[in-house]
Protein backbone atom coordinates (compact mmCIF):
# COMPACT_ATOMS: atom_id res chain seq x y z
CA UNK A 1 0.00 0.00 0.00
CA UNK A 2 1.47 3.32 -0.90
CA UNK A 3 1.79 6.37 1.26
CA UNK A 4 -1.12 8.33 -0.07
CA UNK A 5 -3.47 5.48 0.77
CA UNK A 6 -2.36 5.29 4.38
CA UNK A 7 -2.75 9.04 4.65
CA UNK A 8 -6.30 8.85 3.44
CA UNK A 9 -7.12 6.07 5.81
CA UNK A 10 -5.54 7.59 8.84
CA UNK A 11 -6.45 11.19 8.46
CA UNK A 12 -9.73 11.23 6.58
CA UNK A 13 -11.58 7.96 7.14
CA UNK A 14 -11.02 7.92 10.87
CA UNK A 15 -12.72 11.26 11.10
CA UNK A 16 -15.85 10.63 9.16
CA UNK A 17 -16.45 6.86 9.08
CA UNK A 18 -17.18 4.40 11.78
CA UNK A 19 -14.87 1.71 10.50
CA UNK A 20 -11.81 3.14 8.78
CA UNK A 21 -10.69 -0.32 7.62
CA UNK A 22 -13.83 -0.75 5.53
CA UNK A 23 -14.75 2.55 3.97
CA UNK A 24 -17.62 1.08 1.97
CA UNK A 25 -20.23 -0.83 3.83
CA UNK A 26 -21.27 -3.81 1.80
CA UNK A 27 -24.73 -4.04 3.27
CA UNK A 28 -25.39 -0.42 2.47
CA UNK A 29 -27.09 -1.10 -0.86
CA UNK A 30 -29.38 -3.79 0.42
CA UNK A 31 -30.56 -1.61 3.23
CA UNK A 32 -31.45 1.42 1.27
CA UNK A 33 -32.11 0.55 -2.39
CA UNK A 34 -34.42 -2.09 -3.72
CA UNK A 35 -33.24 -2.81 -7.25
CA UNK A 36 -35.74 -4.25 -9.69
CA UNK A 37 -34.82 -5.55 -13.12
CA UNK A 38 -35.99 -3.19 -15.84
CA UNK A 39 -36.26 -3.45 -19.58
CA UNK A 40 -34.81 -0.05 -20.19
CA UNK A 41 -38.17 1.61 -20.71
CA UNK A 42 -39.06 -0.62 -23.65
CA UNK A 43 -42.60 -1.45 -22.64
CA UNK A 44 -43.60 2.10 -21.93
CA UNK A 45 -42.16 3.22 -25.25
CA UNK A 46 -43.99 0.44 -27.08
CA UNK A 47 -47.23 1.30 -25.38
CA UNK A 48 -46.84 4.89 -26.33
CA UNK A 49 -46.16 3.94 -29.92
CA UNK A 50 -49.05 1.55 -30.11
CA UNK A 51 -51.36 4.23 -28.90
CA UNK A 52 -50.03 6.54 -31.55
CA UNK A 53 -50.20 4.01 -34.41
CA UNK A 54 -53.59 2.63 -33.52
CA UNK A 55 -55.63 3.38 -36.56
CA UNK A 56 -59.12 4.63 -36.43
CA UNK A 57 -61.18 7.29 -38.06
CA UNK A 58 -60.54 9.74 -35.21
CA UNK A 59 -56.88 10.27 -35.84
CA UNK A 60 -57.17 10.80 -39.58
CA UNK A 61 -54.78 13.50 -40.58
CA UNK A 62 -56.32 16.70 -41.72
CA UNK A 63 -55.81 17.35 -45.37
CA UNK A 64 -55.59 20.95 -46.33
CA UNK A 65 -57.84 21.73 -49.22
CA UNK A 66 -56.12 24.72 -50.72
CA UNK A 67 -54.71 24.04 -54.15
CA UNK A 68 -52.79 27.20 -54.67
CA UNK A 69 -49.89 26.16 -52.50
CA UNK A 70 -46.71 24.76 -53.95
CA UNK A 71 -45.93 21.31 -55.24
CA UNK A 72 -44.25 20.33 -52.04
CA UNK A 73 -47.51 20.69 -50.28
CA UNK A 74 -49.34 18.74 -52.97
CA UNK A 75 -46.95 15.88 -52.47
CA UNK A 76 -47.42 16.01 -48.75
CA UNK A 77 -51.13 16.07 -49.23
CA UNK A 78 -50.95 13.08 -51.49
CA UNK A 79 -49.00 11.18 -48.89
CA UNK A 80 -51.57 12.13 -46.30
CA UNK A 81 -54.44 11.09 -48.53
CA UNK A 82 -52.93 7.72 -49.31
CA UNK A 83 -52.17 7.13 -45.67
CA UNK A 84 -55.67 8.14 -44.69
CA UNK A 85 -57.23 5.91 -47.30
CA UNK A 86 -55.21 3.02 -45.95
CA UNK A 87 -56.49 3.77 -42.49
CA UNK A 88 -60.06 4.02 -43.72
CA UNK A 89 -59.82 0.72 -45.60
CA UNK A 90 -58.42 -1.08 -42.60
CA UNK A 91 -61.10 0.43 -40.43
CA UNK A 92 -63.78 -0.66 -42.89
CA UNK A 93 -62.53 -4.22 -43.07
CA UNK A 94 -62.18 -4.64 -39.34
CA UNK A 95 -65.56 -3.07 -38.61
CA UNK A 96 -67.22 -5.30 -41.23
CA UNK A 97 -65.64 -8.37 -39.73
CA UNK A 98 -66.58 -7.36 -36.22
CA UNK A 99 -70.17 -6.62 -37.12
CA UNK A 100 -70.59 -9.78 -39.15
CA UNK A 101 -69.39 -11.75 -36.15
CA UNK A 102 -71.80 -9.91 -33.87
CA UNK A 103 -74.59 -10.56 -36.33
CA UNK A 104 -73.92 -14.27 -36.49
CA UNK A 105 -73.90 -14.42 -32.73
CA UNK A 106 -77.22 -12.59 -32.55
CA UNK A 107 -78.69 -14.91 -35.14
CA UNK A 108 -77.48 -17.89 -33.19
CA UNK A 109 -78.86 -16.58 -29.92
CA UNK A 110 -82.25 -15.77 -31.39
CA UNK A 111 -82.34 -18.87 -33.59
CA UNK A 112 -82.80 -16.97 -36.83
CA UNK A 113 -81.95 -19.04 -39.90
CA UNK A 114 -83.27 -16.80 -42.61
CA UNK A 115 -81.53 -13.87 -44.20
CA UNK A 116 -84.66 -11.73 -44.53
CA UNK A 117 -85.73 -12.36 -40.96
CA UNK A 118 -82.29 -11.51 -39.70
CA UNK A 119 -82.15 -8.21 -41.55
CA UNK A 120 -85.59 -7.13 -40.33
CA UNK A 121 -84.65 -8.13 -36.81
CA UNK A 122 -81.43 -6.15 -36.99
CA UNK A 123 -83.23 -3.14 -38.42
CA UNK A 124 -85.49 -3.03 -35.40
CA UNK A 125 -83.16 -3.92 -32.60
CA UNK A 126 -79.64 -3.03 -33.68
CA UNK A 127 -79.73 -0.29 -36.31
CA UNK A 128 -76.04 0.56 -35.87
CA UNK A 129 -74.93 -2.94 -36.72
CA UNK A 130 -77.38 -3.13 -39.58
CA UNK A 131 -76.05 0.00 -41.18
CA UNK A 132 -72.41 -1.00 -41.01
CA UNK A 133 -72.87 -4.45 -42.51
CA UNK A 134 -71.39 -4.86 -45.99
CA UNK A 135 -73.92 -5.61 -48.66
CA UNK A 136 -73.03 -8.09 -51.38
CA UNK A 137 -75.81 -7.00 -53.68
CA UNK A 138 -74.37 -3.54 -53.74
CA UNK A 139 -71.19 -4.87 -55.30
CA UNK A 140 -72.79 -7.07 -57.95
CA UNK A 141 -73.21 -4.22 -60.46
CA UNK A 142 -69.51 -3.46 -59.99
CA UNK A 143 -68.77 -6.93 -61.37
CA UNK A 144 -71.57 -7.17 -63.89
CA UNK A 145 -71.43 -3.73 -65.43
CA UNK A 146 -67.96 -2.45 -64.75
CA UNK A 147 -65.50 -5.30 -64.65
CA UNK A 148 -67.06 -7.59 -67.24
CA UNK A 149 -67.31 -4.81 -69.79
CA UNK A 150 -63.78 -3.73 -69.00
CA UNK A 151 -62.28 -7.18 -69.43
CA UNK A 152 -64.25 -7.95 -72.58
CA UNK A 153 -63.11 -4.70 -74.10
CA UNK A 154 -59.54 -5.33 -72.98
CA UNK A 155 -59.34 -8.78 -74.53
CA UNK A 156 -61.24 -7.80 -77.65
CA UNK A 157 -63.61 -10.72 -77.37
CA UNK A 158 -65.92 -11.01 -80.31
CA UNK A 159 -68.44 -13.60 -81.37
CA UNK A 160 -65.85 -15.28 -83.54
CA UNK A 161 -63.81 -17.16 -80.96
CA UNK A 162 -61.68 -18.88 -83.61
CA UNK A 163 -59.83 -15.64 -84.32
CA UNK A 164 -59.04 -15.10 -80.65
CA UNK A 165 -55.36 -14.84 -79.79
CA UNK A 166 -54.79 -16.73 -76.56
CA UNK A 167 -51.19 -15.84 -75.74
CA UNK A 168 -51.65 -12.10 -76.09
CA UNK A 169 -54.79 -12.39 -73.98
CA UNK A 170 -52.72 -14.04 -71.23
CA UNK A 171 -50.25 -11.16 -71.40
CA UNK A 172 -53.04 -8.60 -71.13
CA UNK A 173 -54.70 -10.48 -68.29
CA UNK A 174 -51.48 -10.45 -66.31
CA UNK A 175 -51.59 -6.67 -66.34
CA UNK A 176 -55.34 -6.25 -65.92
CA UNK A 177 -57.09 -4.83 -62.91
CA UNK A 178 -58.97 -7.27 -60.72
CA UNK A 179 -60.91 -4.85 -58.54
CA UNK A 180 -64.47 -5.94 -59.09
CA UNK A 181 -63.74 -9.38 -60.49
CA UNK A 182 -65.63 -12.46 -59.38
CA UNK A 183 -62.99 -14.94 -58.19
CA UNK A 184 -63.17 -18.41 -56.74
CA UNK A 185 -60.45 -20.23 -54.81
CA UNK A 186 -59.84 -23.56 -56.52
CA UNK A 187 -56.61 -24.84 -55.03
CA UNK A 188 -54.92 -23.84 -51.84
CA UNK A 189 -52.45 -25.00 -49.26
CA UNK A 190 -55.09 -24.05 -46.73
CA UNK A 191 -57.87 -26.49 -47.49
CA UNK A 192 -60.57 -24.45 -45.76
CA UNK A 193 -60.20 -21.67 -48.30
CA UNK A 194 -61.10 -23.91 -51.24
CA UNK A 195 -64.44 -23.01 -52.75
CA UNK A 196 -64.74 -19.47 -51.46
CA UNK A 197 -66.19 -17.21 -54.11
CA UNK A 198 -66.59 -13.48 -53.99
CA UNK A 199 -66.19 -10.11 -55.63
CA UNK A 200 -62.82 -8.43 -55.19
CA UNK A 201 -63.14 -5.04 -53.56
CA UNK A 202 -59.45 -4.39 -53.12
CA UNK A 203 -56.41 -5.97 -54.72
CA UNK A 204 -53.57 -5.42 -52.27
CA UNK A 205 -50.03 -6.68 -52.55
CA UNK A 206 -50.47 -9.90 -50.66
CA UNK A 207 -54.22 -10.27 -50.31
CA UNK A 208 -57.40 -10.18 -52.31
CA UNK A 209 -60.02 -8.49 -50.15
CA UNK A 210 -63.27 -10.03 -51.28
CA UNK A 211 -66.88 -9.66 -50.33
CA UNK A 212 -68.52 -13.03 -49.97
CA UNK A 213 -72.19 -13.82 -50.07
CA UNK A 214 -73.23 -15.88 -47.08
CA UNK A 215 -76.43 -17.68 -46.15
CA UNK A 216 -77.08 -15.23 -43.31
CA UNK A 217 -74.61 -12.39 -43.50
CA UNK A 218 -72.41 -11.09 -46.29
CA UNK A 219 -68.82 -11.05 -45.15
CA UNK A 220 -65.58 -9.37 -46.09
CA UNK A 221 -62.71 -11.83 -46.35
CA UNK A 222 -59.01 -11.28 -46.93
CA UNK A 223 -57.69 -14.21 -48.93
CA UNK A 224 -53.88 -14.41 -49.03
CA UNK A 225 -52.40 -14.75 -52.49
CA UNK A 226 -49.57 -16.93 -51.28
CA UNK A 227 -50.31 -20.59 -51.78
CA UNK A 228 -53.67 -20.07 -53.46
CA UNK A 229 -55.00 -20.44 -56.99
CA UNK A 230 -57.97 -18.33 -58.08
CA UNK A 231 -60.23 -19.00 -61.01
CA UNK A 232 -62.36 -16.61 -63.02
CA UNK A 233 -64.55 -16.86 -66.08
CA UNK A 234 -65.20 -14.48 -68.92
CA UNK A 235 -68.49 -15.09 -70.69
CA UNK A 236 -68.24 -14.87 -74.45
CA UNK A 237 -71.76 -13.83 -75.28
CA UNK A 238 -74.85 -12.97 -73.29
CA UNK A 239 -77.28 -15.52 -74.66
CA UNK A 240 -74.79 -18.39 -74.69
CA UNK A 241 -73.62 -20.42 -71.71
CA UNK A 242 -70.00 -20.78 -72.79
CA UNK A 243 -67.15 -18.91 -71.16
CA UNK A 244 -63.37 -18.70 -71.14
CA UNK A 245 -61.81 -19.96 -67.95
CA UNK A 246 -58.51 -18.75 -66.51
CA UNK A 247 -56.65 -19.27 -63.25
CA UNK A 248 -54.46 -16.87 -61.32
CA UNK A 249 -51.44 -18.39 -59.61
CA UNK A 250 -51.36 -16.33 -56.44
CA UNK A 251 -47.73 -17.19 -55.70
CA UNK A 252 -46.52 -15.34 -58.79
CA UNK A 253 -49.06 -12.53 -58.49
CA UNK A 254 -47.88 -10.82 -55.35
CA UNK A 255 -47.80 -7.26 -56.67
CA UNK A 256 -50.19 -4.37 -56.35
CA UNK A 257 -52.24 -3.73 -59.43
CA UNK A 258 -50.41 -0.43 -59.90
CA UNK A 259 -47.00 -2.10 -59.93
CA UNK A 260 -48.21 -4.96 -62.07
CA UNK A 261 -49.16 -2.78 -65.02
CA UNK A 262 -45.67 -2.16 -66.34
CA UNK A 263 -44.06 -5.21 -64.91
CA UNK A 264 -41.98 -7.80 -66.69
CA UNK A 265 -42.76 -11.12 -65.07
CA UNK A 266 -40.13 -13.81 -64.83
CA UNK A 267 -40.50 -17.55 -64.66
CA UNK A 268 -39.02 -19.05 -61.54
CA UNK A 269 -38.48 -22.54 -60.25
CA UNK A 270 -41.86 -23.83 -59.23
CA UNK A 271 -40.97 -26.10 -56.32
CA UNK A 272 -43.32 -24.15 -54.09
CA UNK A 273 -46.35 -24.89 -56.22
CA UNK A 274 -46.57 -28.60 -55.62
CA UNK A 275 -49.94 -28.11 -53.93
CA UNK A 276 -51.32 -27.01 -57.28
CA UNK A 277 -50.99 -30.41 -58.91
CA UNK A 278 -51.36 -32.63 -55.88
CA UNK A 279 -54.78 -33.71 -54.82
Amino acid sequence: MDRAQTFIKECLFTKCLEDPEKPINENRLQDTLLLLPTDGGLTSRLQKQRKKSKLNLDNLQNVSQSKSEGEQLAKENYQKISKNSKIALREFISSCKKNARKCLKLAHDNKITDKANLSSYLKEKHPTIYESLPEYDGFVPMYKELWLNYIIELLNITKNIKAFNGSSALLKLSMADYNGALLRVTKSKNKTLIGIQGIVIWDSQKFFVMIVKGPLVDQVKCIPKKGTVFQFEIPISDNDDSALRYSILGDRFKYRSVDRAGRKFKSRRCDDMLYYIQN
Binding site: N165, L170, P215, Y246, F253, R269
Partner: protein, 293 residues
Protein backbone atom coordinates in the same frame (compact mmCIF):
# COMPACT_ATOMS: atom_id res chain seq x y z
CA UNK B 1 -49.23 -39.68 -59.26
CA UNK B 2 -46.44 -41.79 -60.68
CA UNK B 3 -44.53 -40.18 -63.50
CA UNK B 4 -42.26 -41.61 -66.18
CA UNK B 5 -40.53 -38.82 -68.03
CA UNK B 6 -38.71 -40.85 -70.62
CA UNK B 7 -40.28 -43.20 -73.14
CA UNK B 8 -38.29 -42.91 -76.37
CA UNK B 9 -40.04 -41.95 -79.57
CA UNK B 10 -38.90 -44.17 -82.47
CA UNK B 11 -37.34 -41.40 -84.55
CA UNK B 12 -33.96 -39.75 -84.17
CA UNK B 13 -34.30 -36.95 -86.70
CA UNK B 14 -36.98 -35.16 -88.68
CA UNK B 15 -35.92 -36.97 -91.85
CA UNK B 16 -36.73 -40.46 -90.59
CA UNK B 17 -40.05 -42.07 -91.23
CA UNK B 18 -42.07 -43.65 -88.45
CA UNK B 19 -43.14 -47.21 -89.12
CA UNK B 20 -46.45 -48.53 -87.82
CA UNK B 21 -44.47 -51.39 -86.27
CA UNK B 22 -42.54 -48.95 -84.10
CA UNK B 23 -45.71 -47.14 -83.05
CA UNK B 24 -47.24 -50.45 -82.10
CA UNK B 25 -44.20 -51.25 -79.99
CA UNK B 26 -44.48 -47.88 -78.29
CA UNK B 27 -48.15 -48.49 -77.53
CA UNK B 28 -47.25 -51.81 -75.94
CA UNK B 29 -44.66 -50.10 -73.78
CA UNK B 30 -47.24 -47.56 -72.71
CA UNK B 31 -49.76 -50.25 -71.76
CA UNK B 32 -47.13 -52.12 -69.76
CA UNK B 33 -46.22 -48.93 -67.91
CA UNK B 34 -49.90 -48.44 -67.24
CA UNK B 35 -50.12 -51.93 -65.75
CA UNK B 36 -47.18 -51.12 -63.48
CA UNK B 37 -49.10 -48.16 -62.09
CA UNK B 38 -47.76 -45.14 -63.94
CA UNK B 39 -50.25 -42.35 -64.52
CA UNK B 40 -48.28 -39.63 -66.32
CA UNK B 41 -45.89 -40.50 -69.14
CA UNK B 42 -43.79 -38.24 -71.36
CA UNK B 43 -42.84 -39.45 -74.82
CA UNK B 44 -39.30 -38.41 -75.57
CA UNK B 45 -38.12 -37.26 -78.99
CA UNK B 46 -34.32 -37.13 -79.03
CA UNK B 47 -32.69 -34.99 -81.69
CA UNK B 48 -29.37 -33.29 -82.23
CA UNK B 49 -29.28 -29.58 -81.49
CA UNK B 50 -27.54 -28.76 -84.76
CA UNK B 51 -30.20 -30.56 -86.78
CA UNK B 52 -32.20 -28.56 -89.27
CA UNK B 53 -35.53 -27.82 -87.64
CA UNK B 54 -38.59 -27.20 -89.78
CA UNK B 55 -39.73 -23.60 -89.88
CA UNK B 56 -43.39 -24.21 -89.28
CA UNK B 57 -44.29 -24.49 -85.59
CA UNK B 58 -46.88 -27.13 -86.34
CA UNK B 59 -44.29 -29.35 -88.01
CA UNK B 60 -41.91 -29.15 -85.07
CA UNK B 61 -43.65 -31.83 -83.05
CA UNK B 62 -43.68 -35.21 -84.82
CA UNK B 63 -45.45 -36.88 -81.87
CA UNK B 64 -49.10 -36.32 -82.62
CA UNK B 65 -50.36 -37.38 -79.22
CA UNK B 66 -53.99 -36.44 -79.65
CA UNK B 67 -54.33 -38.26 -82.95
CA UNK B 68 -52.21 -41.31 -82.24
CA UNK B 69 -52.84 -41.99 -78.58
CA UNK B 70 -56.07 -40.11 -77.91
CA UNK B 71 -58.11 -43.26 -77.61
CA UNK B 72 -55.55 -44.97 -75.38
CA UNK B 73 -55.58 -41.96 -73.07
CA UNK B 74 -59.36 -41.93 -72.91
CA UNK B 75 -59.64 -45.65 -72.23
CA UNK B 76 -56.92 -46.08 -69.66
CA UNK B 77 -56.80 -42.66 -68.04
CA UNK B 78 -53.11 -42.26 -68.85
CA UNK B 79 -51.85 -38.72 -69.33
CA UNK B 80 -49.31 -38.40 -72.13
CA UNK B 81 -46.94 -35.50 -72.73
CA UNK B 82 -44.41 -34.73 -75.41
CA UNK B 83 -40.79 -34.11 -74.58
CA UNK B 84 -37.84 -33.09 -76.68
CA UNK B 85 -34.26 -33.92 -75.77
CA UNK B 86 -31.61 -31.88 -77.53
CA UNK B 87 -28.21 -33.49 -77.90
CA UNK B 88 -25.86 -30.57 -77.36
CA UNK B 89 -22.40 -30.94 -78.81
CA UNK B 90 -21.15 -27.63 -80.15
CA UNK B 91 -23.08 -24.71 -78.68
CA UNK B 92 -22.26 -22.38 -81.57
CA UNK B 93 -24.28 -24.38 -84.06
CA UNK B 94 -27.47 -24.58 -82.06
CA UNK B 95 -30.69 -22.74 -82.64
CA UNK B 96 -32.72 -20.68 -80.24
CA UNK B 97 -34.82 -22.71 -77.87
CA UNK B 98 -37.79 -20.37 -77.60
CA UNK B 99 -39.40 -21.57 -80.80
CA UNK B 100 -38.72 -25.25 -80.18
CA UNK B 101 -40.07 -25.13 -76.66
CA UNK B 102 -43.42 -23.85 -77.91
CA UNK B 103 -44.20 -27.18 -79.51
CA UNK B 104 -43.28 -29.49 -76.63
CA UNK B 105 -44.40 -29.89 -73.06
CA UNK B 106 -40.98 -30.66 -71.60
CA UNK B 107 -37.59 -29.58 -72.93
CA UNK B 108 -34.46 -31.50 -71.91
CA UNK B 109 -30.79 -31.17 -72.76
CA UNK B 110 -28.28 -33.97 -73.24
CA UNK B 111 -24.76 -32.54 -73.33
CA UNK B 112 -22.09 -34.76 -74.89
CA UNK B 113 -19.17 -32.36 -74.63
CA UNK B 114 -17.76 -30.14 -71.93
CA UNK B 115 -18.80 -26.98 -73.75
CA UNK B 116 -22.30 -28.32 -74.14
CA UNK B 117 -22.48 -29.05 -70.44
CA UNK B 118 -21.44 -25.52 -69.47
CA UNK B 119 -23.97 -24.06 -71.87
CA UNK B 120 -26.83 -26.21 -70.68
CA UNK B 121 -26.11 -25.68 -67.00
CA UNK B 122 -25.86 -21.91 -67.27
CA UNK B 123 -27.86 -20.41 -70.07
CA UNK B 124 -30.41 -22.69 -71.65
CA UNK B 125 -34.04 -22.40 -70.62
CA UNK B 126 -34.68 -26.12 -70.02
CA UNK B 127 -36.58 -28.28 -67.56
CA UNK B 128 -34.35 -31.32 -67.44
CA UNK B 129 -30.69 -32.22 -67.75
CA UNK B 130 -29.95 -35.78 -68.78
CA UNK B 131 -26.87 -37.74 -69.75
CA UNK B 132 -25.99 -40.74 -71.84
CA UNK B 133 -25.72 -43.27 -69.06
CA UNK B 134 -24.51 -46.00 -71.40
CA UNK B 135 -21.23 -44.27 -72.20
CA UNK B 136 -18.71 -42.16 -70.31
CA UNK B 137 -19.84 -38.75 -69.08
CA UNK B 138 -18.45 -35.87 -71.16
CA UNK B 139 -16.54 -34.43 -68.25
CA UNK B 140 -16.12 -34.67 -64.51
CA UNK B 141 -19.27 -33.21 -62.93
CA UNK B 142 -18.55 -30.39 -60.52
CA UNK B 143 -20.69 -29.62 -57.50
CA UNK B 144 -20.77 -25.96 -58.37
CA UNK B 145 -22.16 -26.15 -61.87
CA UNK B 146 -24.66 -28.93 -61.19
CA UNK B 147 -25.94 -27.43 -57.93
CA UNK B 148 -26.39 -23.96 -59.44
CA UNK B 149 -28.30 -25.61 -62.25
CA UNK B 150 -30.55 -27.42 -59.76
CA UNK B 151 -31.11 -24.18 -57.85
CA UNK B 152 -32.33 -22.61 -61.06
CA UNK B 153 -35.11 -25.21 -61.16
CA UNK B 154 -33.61 -27.64 -63.68
CA UNK B 155 -33.85 -31.28 -62.60
CA UNK B 156 -31.35 -34.06 -63.26
CA UNK B 157 -32.59 -37.23 -64.84
CA UNK B 158 -31.49 -40.81 -64.20
CA UNK B 159 -32.49 -43.29 -66.90
CA UNK B 160 -32.65 -46.78 -65.46
CA UNK B 161 -33.23 -48.50 -68.78
CA UNK B 162 -29.46 -48.73 -69.28
CA UNK B 163 -29.16 -50.95 -66.21
CA UNK B 164 -31.24 -53.63 -67.94
CA UNK B 165 -29.24 -53.90 -71.16
CA UNK B 166 -25.78 -55.43 -71.63
CA UNK B 167 -23.02 -55.72 -69.06
CA UNK B 168 -20.95 -52.83 -70.41
CA UNK B 169 -23.76 -50.27 -70.25
CA UNK B 170 -24.76 -51.51 -66.81
CA UNK B 171 -21.26 -50.90 -65.50
CA UNK B 172 -21.15 -47.45 -67.00
CA UNK B 173 -24.63 -46.75 -65.66
CA UNK B 174 -23.59 -47.45 -62.08
CA UNK B 175 -20.53 -45.22 -62.20
CA UNK B 176 -22.38 -42.40 -63.99
CA UNK B 177 -25.32 -42.47 -61.60
CA UNK B 178 -22.97 -42.35 -58.66
CA UNK B 179 -21.24 -39.30 -60.03
CA UNK B 180 -24.55 -37.56 -60.80
CA UNK B 181 -25.84 -38.24 -57.30
CA UNK B 182 -22.59 -37.04 -55.77
CA UNK B 183 -22.39 -33.85 -57.80
CA UNK B 184 -26.01 -32.88 -57.16
CA UNK B 185 -25.76 -33.52 -53.40
CA UNK B 186 -28.97 -35.61 -53.57
CA UNK B 187 -31.03 -32.65 -54.76
CA UNK B 188 -33.33 -32.38 -57.74
CA UNK B 189 -33.02 -35.90 -59.12
CA UNK B 190 -35.82 -37.47 -61.15
CA UNK B 191 -35.96 -41.00 -62.54
CA UNK B 192 -37.18 -42.02 -65.98
CA UNK B 193 -37.32 -45.41 -67.64
CA UNK B 194 -36.03 -44.92 -71.17
CA UNK B 195 -37.74 -48.19 -72.04
CA UNK B 196 -37.32 -49.17 -75.67
CA UNK B 197 -39.49 -52.26 -75.26
CA UNK B 198 -42.14 -53.40 -72.77
CA UNK B 199 -39.55 -55.65 -71.14
CA UNK B 200 -37.54 -52.70 -69.87
CA UNK B 201 -40.30 -51.27 -67.70
CA UNK B 202 -40.05 -51.67 -63.94
CA UNK B 203 -42.28 -50.53 -61.13
CA UNK B 204 -41.47 -48.02 -58.42
CA UNK B 205 -40.45 -50.56 -55.78
CA UNK B 206 -37.75 -52.14 -57.91
CA UNK B 207 -36.36 -48.88 -59.22
CA UNK B 208 -36.33 -47.39 -55.74
CA UNK B 209 -34.27 -50.24 -54.36
CA UNK B 210 -31.88 -50.05 -57.32
CA UNK B 211 -31.24 -46.33 -56.93
CA UNK B 212 -31.14 -46.66 -53.16
CA UNK B 213 -28.31 -49.13 -53.51
CA UNK B 214 -26.51 -46.62 -55.69
CA UNK B 215 -26.46 -44.08 -52.87
CA UNK B 216 -29.61 -41.93 -53.01
CA UNK B 217 -31.59 -41.72 -49.74
CA UNK B 218 -34.82 -43.66 -50.00
CA UNK B 219 -37.17 -40.72 -49.40
CA UNK B 220 -35.56 -38.88 -52.30
CA UNK B 221 -36.00 -42.00 -54.44
CA UNK B 222 -39.75 -42.13 -54.14
CA UNK B 223 -39.98 -38.36 -54.57
CA UNK B 224 -37.88 -38.66 -57.72
CA UNK B 225 -40.66 -40.59 -59.47
CA UNK B 226 -43.56 -38.67 -57.97
CA UNK B 227 -43.37 -35.11 -56.71
CA UNK B 228 -40.23 -33.87 -58.42
CA UNK B 229 -41.07 -35.45 -61.74
CA UNK B 230 -44.51 -33.88 -61.68
CA UNK B 231 -42.88 -30.54 -60.95
CA UNK B 232 -40.95 -30.94 -64.19
CA UNK B 233 -44.24 -31.41 -66.00
CA UNK B 234 -45.71 -28.39 -64.21
CA UNK B 235 -42.74 -26.24 -65.15
CA UNK B 236 -42.92 -27.33 -68.75
CA UNK B 237 -46.67 -26.95 -69.09
CA UNK B 238 -46.65 -23.53 -67.46
CA UNK B 239 -44.13 -22.29 -70.01
CA UNK B 240 -46.60 -22.67 -72.84
CA UNK B 241 -49.95 -22.47 -71.14
CA UNK B 242 -49.38 -19.40 -68.99
CA UNK B 243 -47.89 -15.96 -69.18
CA UNK B 244 -44.71 -16.28 -67.13
CA UNK B 245 -46.47 -18.42 -64.52
CA UNK B 246 -49.01 -15.72 -63.58
CA UNK B 247 -52.25 -16.37 -65.41
CA UNK B 248 -53.01 -19.88 -66.63
CA UNK B 249 -55.59 -20.99 -69.13
CA UNK B 250 -58.06 -23.47 -67.67
CA UNK B 251 -58.68 -24.38 -64.08
CA UNK B 252 -61.47 -25.70 -61.96
CA UNK B 253 -62.27 -27.11 -58.57
CA UNK B 254 -61.95 -30.77 -59.52
CA UNK B 255 -58.65 -32.50 -58.98
CA UNK B 256 -57.84 -33.21 -62.61
CA UNK B 257 -58.41 -29.68 -63.79
CA UNK B 258 -55.03 -28.07 -63.27
CA UNK B 259 -52.63 -27.27 -66.05
CA UNK B 260 -50.71 -30.55 -65.82
CA UNK B 261 -53.61 -32.96 -65.61
CA UNK B 262 -55.81 -31.12 -68.06
CA UNK B 263 -54.29 -32.55 -71.23
CA UNK B 264 -57.37 -32.51 -73.38
CA UNK B 265 -59.23 -29.41 -72.27
CA UNK B 266 -56.79 -26.64 -73.11
CA UNK B 267 -56.60 -25.73 -76.77
CA UNK B 268 -52.96 -26.07 -77.86
CA UNK B 269 -52.99 -23.50 -80.62
CA UNK B 270 -55.00 -20.82 -78.92
CA UNK B 271 -54.16 -21.50 -75.25
CA UNK B 272 -57.73 -20.96 -74.16
CA UNK B 273 -60.18 -23.22 -72.43
CA UNK B 274 -63.82 -23.07 -73.35
CA UNK B 275 -66.20 -24.23 -70.65
CA UNK B 276 -69.79 -24.02 -69.67
CA UNK B 277 -70.33 -21.20 -67.21
CA UNK B 278 -70.23 -22.34 -63.62
CA UNK B 279 -69.65 -19.10 -61.77
CA UNK B 280 -72.58 -16.85 -61.07
CA UNK B 281 -72.58 -13.77 -58.83
CA UNK B 282 -75.86 -14.94 -57.30
CA UNK B 283 -74.26 -18.08 -55.87
CA UNK B 284 -73.42 -18.34 -52.21
CA UNK B 285 -69.81 -17.61 -51.36
CA UNK B 286 -68.68 -20.93 -49.99
CA UNK B 287 -68.79 -24.28 -51.76
CA UNK B 288 -69.83 -26.32 -48.74
CA UNK B 289 -72.78 -24.04 -48.18
CA UNK B 290 -73.45 -23.66 -51.87
CA UNK B 291 -74.19 -27.33 -52.43
CA UNK B 292 -76.87 -27.39 -49.77
CA UNK B 293 -80.39 -27.18 -51.20
Amino acid sequence: MLVDLNVPWPQSSYMEKVTPQAINNLTKTLTTLHTLGYTHIAINFTVSHSEKFPNDVKMLNPIDIKKRFGELMARTGLKLYSRITLIIDDPSKGQSLSKISQAFDVVAALPISEKGLTLSTTNLDIDLLTFQYGSRLPTFLKHKSICSCVNRGVKLEIVYGYALRDVQSRRQFVSNVRSVIRSSRFRGIVIGSGAMSPLECRNILGVTSLIKNLGLPSDKCSKAMGDLASLVLLNGRLRNKSHKQTIVAGGGEEDDNDVVNDVQGIDDNQTVKLVKRTMDPEQLGHAAKRHKP
